[in-house]
């Protein structure tokens, strides 16, 4: 199902056209994505939802540039990520994309600030300024007291906050989040979504969240419902922040 952008809308932050991805071959072939067309705007929190195995995470992986598509095109703020070489795409990810994972993926030996500083270190920052900047970001999301804590000393919600700080520390244009609330209780999930909602309130940043947690659907500006590798429908609406 092709979703055309409205003629009056600004150019999309993320533009997806004819995206296909298959896994396996022969009888075992699975169409994870089957000609997906989608646009996501900057300054919005966009949710990709759907049942398990519908292709949400595959779509997010291709958009984030960590998985090659078989066909189709993905542009992020005008740069076509699907036509980039490996190195260029790696550099693009380091510069423009922030990641939030379901299992946090924090390095257990590093403190919260050190974990949050990783994207800056990858970009070539020295340790001290990178950690200092990460501590500022952690403080801005209410984690000032946990800067020197190791992941093992943090709760699930706190670890996800550190992961969000890590995703935001280098001021990316696109934030991709895979099931950020799946491992959290309702309250912590809402708090994390609130942070993502806040992160999306910037005109030069788009936030994509893959989730099947219908308790947070109301926070999305645009919700793309996927089924069987296709976009079934797209809902555009203003967020209901009353519960966040």
């Amino acid at each position: 199902m092709a979703i055309d952008p409205t003629p009056t809308a600004p150019p999309p932050a993320v533009r997806i056209r004819g995206l296909s991805k298959r896994f396996g071959s022969g009888e075992r072939e699975v169409k994870a994505l089957d000609g997906v067309d989608l646009d996501f705007q900057a300054g919005k929190l966009s949710l990709i939802v759907g049942p398990s195995g519908c292709g949400k995470t595959t779509l997010l992986s291709v958009v984030a540039g960590i998985l090659d598509a078989d066909a189709g095109e993905v542009s992020i703020f005008g740069e076509t990520i699907t036509s980039m070489g490996d190195r260029a795409r790696t550099r693009f990810r380091a510069r423009r994309i922030g990641f939030v994972f379901q299992q946090y993926n924090l390095l257990p030996a590093l403190t919260a600030a050190e974990n949050a500083s990783i994207p800056l270190v990858i970009a070539g920052w020295r340790k001290a300024p990178a950690v200092a900047r990460a501590a500022e970001v952690l403080a801005s999301i209410g984690m000032a007291g946990k800067v020197d804590s190791l992941p093992a000393q943090l709760s699930g919600g706190q670890m996800q906050r550190v992961a969000i700080a890590r995703a935001l520390v280098h001021d990316p244009s696109l934030l991709v989040c895979d099931e950020p609330t799946a491992a959290l209780d309702h309250e912590s999930g809402l708090a994390v979504m609130g942070l993502l909602r806040h992160a999306a309130d910037q005109p030069d940043r788009a936030v994509l969240v893959v989730t099947h947690d219908n308790r947070v659907f109301h926070l999305g500006d645009r919700i793309a419902h996927m089924d069987d590798g296709r976009v079934a429908r797209v809902e555009d609406r203003g967020p209901d922040l009353s519960a966040a």
């Binding site: 960590i66 998985l67 790696t90 990810r93 390095l107």
Partner: protein, 479 residues
Amino acid sequence: MAWIAIKMLVGDRAKFVGIVLGLTFASALMTQQGSIFCGMLLRTGALISDVAGDDLWVMDPGVQFVDDVRPMRESELDRVRGVPGVKWAVPLYKGNGRVRLTFNPDDLKEKTYSPDRLRNDRRESARPSAPSNIFTRGLNLFVRGAGDLDSPPPRWYTPDDVNVVETVVLVGVDDVSMIGAPARGAMVGPGPRGRMWVGRPEDLRRPDAILVDRVGLRRLFPGCRLEKPFDDPPESEEAYLARLEAFVRAAPEIEMNDRRAVIVGVCEATRTFQSNPVVFTLYSRAKRFMPMERKMLTFILARTGKDADGASPVAAEVAERIRERTGLAAWTGREFAFRTIKYYLIYTGIPINFGVTVTLGFLVGTAIAGQTFYNFTIENLKQFGSLKAMGASNVQIVGMILLQASLAGSLGYGLGVGLSALFGMKTLDRWGNSTELASFTPWQLLPITATAIALICVLASLVSAQRVLRLEPAVVFRS
């Protein structure tokens, strides 16, 4: 990224310790076995290194190593003396002699031990001398039919006269110059350090005189504990020297080839490969201490001097002249020592045996360190995947893995070499002489071990890195 790599490695303490221990084990085993190998090989040329003052060793051309005794005619000595560039040349006899002696340990102890020590010794002698510990008790349980190990033959604790027949290395030094004798000067005490414990090399001029080496006293006078100071309670060097002096005064006469020999001093000699006692005497007397043969001259020790025209030829040049003019073989001491080592390397199984041990150390070290390091990387695969997803390049990731491997390798290498050095120090006695175990670590062994450890680390990190390089960053989105 370096600090992240180091924190990742050190953060998982159990794995980190496992990796470092594996590398330490490999490094220690390779260095220690290598050191023992080198130490043993150096012992093969013990006589060569102990003889000072000469430049050249001249011998029968068929001689392959220092123990390969092929006597020459005495007239060869004059021929060598006639070669231009030879300042002086002296004879040296070296052969395996046989000593016989009879002594009463109680008498000897009475004359050498202090009264307190003698009382203790008699008390100890009344007890069975076989050790009793958990191992020996366990052994008695399992080896029932082999007799009671706690009951040694009675002669060990109710000693009568003991008869000793022992093969010794007999060294006959030049009667006049005494070139080849142990260096003058005491082993301990003030003044320049020589190789004499009791007596002087000049004492060899006394009738029937011989010098014996300190360690050899253990084989010549078993049970008298003359070869080293007492450990419990510790005996001072002065007391030990006094005991050795008393021993020289009281030592029984020795019989060699039906001739009388008298111990006039105790010296220090580098242990020989066969660990036989070393006996020094004069060249003329050594010929009497051995069954008479027509030719007795074993080696000629020569010193280079000036030519007739006043030029000073180097030793190698004079050696070449000796070879040309006399048909004998001539080597510098260093060359002859290496020639001896080369013989043992080629014609004995020693290098193969040690090579197998060192290779096993390398393989076991590789297996332990490599497997642990690989497991460490595999367990951190998701973390490496996250770093890749966040934009870390393959070069950065491989750099991290290599850094982790080099850090663990450096630590393991340092600890291993340190342990080996400690072991080497433990093999020395209190005066820095080697004991039963020879251990010598030449500097070349250190880079060789370092290369082997680096190879282990590179192998381990390559295997680990290729898993990380093949890793799709999308793995991070799979829960």
